[in-house]
Symmetry: C2
Subunit: 388 residues, 2 copies
């Protein structure tokens, strides 16, 4: 298979965007990515789009067809493929589009991720997020995503001595980073007291330990490396991509404090790229809840299992730490429009590797990792990128 | 890219299957396909599954993770990818899985298609099928899929003189075929009088012009051709695959009596395979409504535009006609569990090309076509297969 590069990035702001519809969001992100890349729309061979639940959030399935039409590509009759894996939908769409270029089938594809989550009432957003859990064995009995991660957090505290304060410090760090990101939903640093004193969602997770409900979209242009130099001086090379599954319902797993999907996906991606966790200069990880970032840095091998909380205390993951994590602000502060998240994580890594991340730039970032989890870890996609 | 073969087929019966859940259906189809192929579960590299709207029909997104788990593959951590394109989801999942093998990334993959549509109340099934239309410009204002196809039918009658009786004869033919198919939802021939006198759904389409609401699943095993002979003496080769888009809302199209997505997809697939419509020995086409089969045989080039109705009168598409269409009974009689349909169409073509179609066997079938449409034609997938 041939080498593939990211040559363009486009993002909408993330937030409660009452004046923008699902189709407005993805069209805006796509147009920005095309402009950023310098390609012409006529050169695009296919669209790949990740969306978790447009069917429930905005009453729209046939998402690929909608995106092709609203982006102005329907009259060209090009293929448009919607991929879903709960909140790992974006990462998975990227991976499918990557293969289509790596295999030689396509030369240039657009990867989109989009969700419009705020057009709902009552508990609909929570209910729809719970469709990322096992409906018959978890959601049906009242499990929510927050409740599930809360169970994982209490077990992590019991097994490894992780503290409430360490969880809160994940949010402090990510809000501090988000304050530097013009695309973030919450551009605001928050002191630890606010996080500790926020209304409880599910013990030990308070409201400010949880990623928000968000609207937003992101798009990327992928191009065969052999043609990328025609468009840009700084293509970012994809050096690893992997996906792994795990037992769906959390109660079926041997150890709820490890996502085996993350462990396997990371191992496969590192092997493909010929690197190890030590080589990662910057990472965007799936911090849908603060505990999730602690699991992630352990499962990805940045620190040993059980030492994630301590790593936060020791500032290993801050912008100037050994392995900066979530410079964008993460899902926590940047926002979490679920289908867009995986694409937005890769977009941030591309900014970092191109040196375009402005005030949140990680110094000398050459290799970056994006880690996108579905639901409570039943699927995971890991992507590795390198500046060339 | 290398050659790819279908080496295994598994189907559930289609119908109102009150005693089987979404996960039961896909697991049953998958297990049957694995047994049919003679592979071991440990040889599977990835799962691809098509489902239109599990999120709305059964409250389950994260469909890939569910399928990996319920089929017993989660502990192997293999990737599982859910693909959606309304009722073309199955055909599109097949196409993505095909590329993963053709590119050399995978050697053996399982393609699944599944929908559980009968666990709903009131107008939910109709509403969810309408999410395959443009929600903001069609469904929101009350358009349904049946209403949209009814408009297309009246225009086809006006432009080309197509008659109510010709529409009904499509259903007569497909029910006659379905009566010979052990997997069909309706194993019953129906006289034309019953179809003409059925309650009206949307003029000119009566209840028996419409595919039913169905539960069901189908699975296929794809294998690199170079390894296929290890498992089977009669691999069926994939010689063409294509996908095309069209303007989403029907009112935006120049001519509503042609699905440009079908025309383009067919053209591309024929070119890839180096054949023409003349070479097709048997076809499964997307007859969600009787008018849809008439459009299909025109758009695929079996007959000229406008002559589809006459072709039905002249029995060109019966089991012993020049180009037999929908020997399985089609969506009309076999049933239409929307996410499963595209995979089930290919399964029928595989049966036909292997000579396994029993009483509905088309004589000397060497090349077959499957034609899977999303919604009212905004997406289409065409697959060409050949007996070797």
């Amino acid at each position: 298979m041939r080498e593939v590069a990211v040559i363009g990035v486009g993002l909408t702001k993330f937030g409660e965007l009452w004046d923008k519809s699902f189709r407005n969001l993805i069209s805006e992100a796509g147009a920005k990515a095309i402009i950023d890349s310098g390609i012409s729309g006529r050169e695009i061979d296919a669209l790949y789009v990740g969306s978790m639940s447009a069917g429930r959030f905005v009453g729209q399935e046939h998402v690929g067809a909608l995106v092709a039409d609203s982006s102005g590509f329907a009259h060209m009759h090009i293929p448009s493929i919607r991929v879903e894996s709960a909140d790992a939908s974006g990462g998975l769409a990227f991976r499918q589009g990557y293969f289509s270029v790596a295999s030689g089938m396509n030369d240039i594809v657009v990867i989109g991720g989009v969700e419009k989550m705020t057009d709902v009432v009552g508990s609909e957003a929570t209910d729809t997020l719970a469709t990322g859990l096992d409906q018959e064995w978890e959601a049906f009995f009242g499990s929510t995503l927050a409740g599930t991660y809360a169970m994982i957090a209490t077990r992590h505290m019991y097994d490894y001595g992780t503290t409430r304060e360490q969880l809160a410090k994940v949010a402090v760090k990510n809000h501090a980073n988000g304050a530097l990101n013009p695309y973030a939903q919450f551009k605001k640093a928050i002191p630890i007291e606010s996080i500790l004193n926020a209304p409880m969602t599910a013990y030990p997770l308070g409201m400010l330990d949880c990623a928000p409900v968000s609207d937003g979209a992101t798009a990327l242009i992928l191009c065969a490396m052999e043609k990328a130099k025609k468009y840009t001086d700084n293509p970012v090379k994809i050096i690893g991509t992997s996906q792994a599954s795990d037992i769906f319902a959390v109660h079926g797993r041997n150890n709820i404090c490890t996502f085996q999907s993350s462990v396997y996906a990371a191992k496969k991606a590192y092997t493909q790229a010929g690197i190890s966790a030590e080589d990662i200069d910057v990472a965007e990880v799936h911090d849908c809840y603060t505990i999730a970032e602690i699991l992630a840095i352990e499962d990805l091998g940045f620190v040993k299992k059980g030492e994630g909380g301590m790593a936060i205390d020791n500032k290993i993951t801050t912008l100037d730490g050994k392995t900066p994590v979530n410079p964008s602000g993460g899902l926590k502060a940047k926002g979490h429009p679920v289908g867009a998240t995986g694409v937005a994580q890769i977009a941030e890594i591309v900014f970092q590797l191109r040196g375009d991340a402005e005030k949140r730039q990680v110094k000398n970032a050459k290799i970056g990792l994006a880690h996108n989890v579905g639901g409570a870890g039943a699927s995971c996609v890991v992507t590795l990128l390198e500046a060339i």
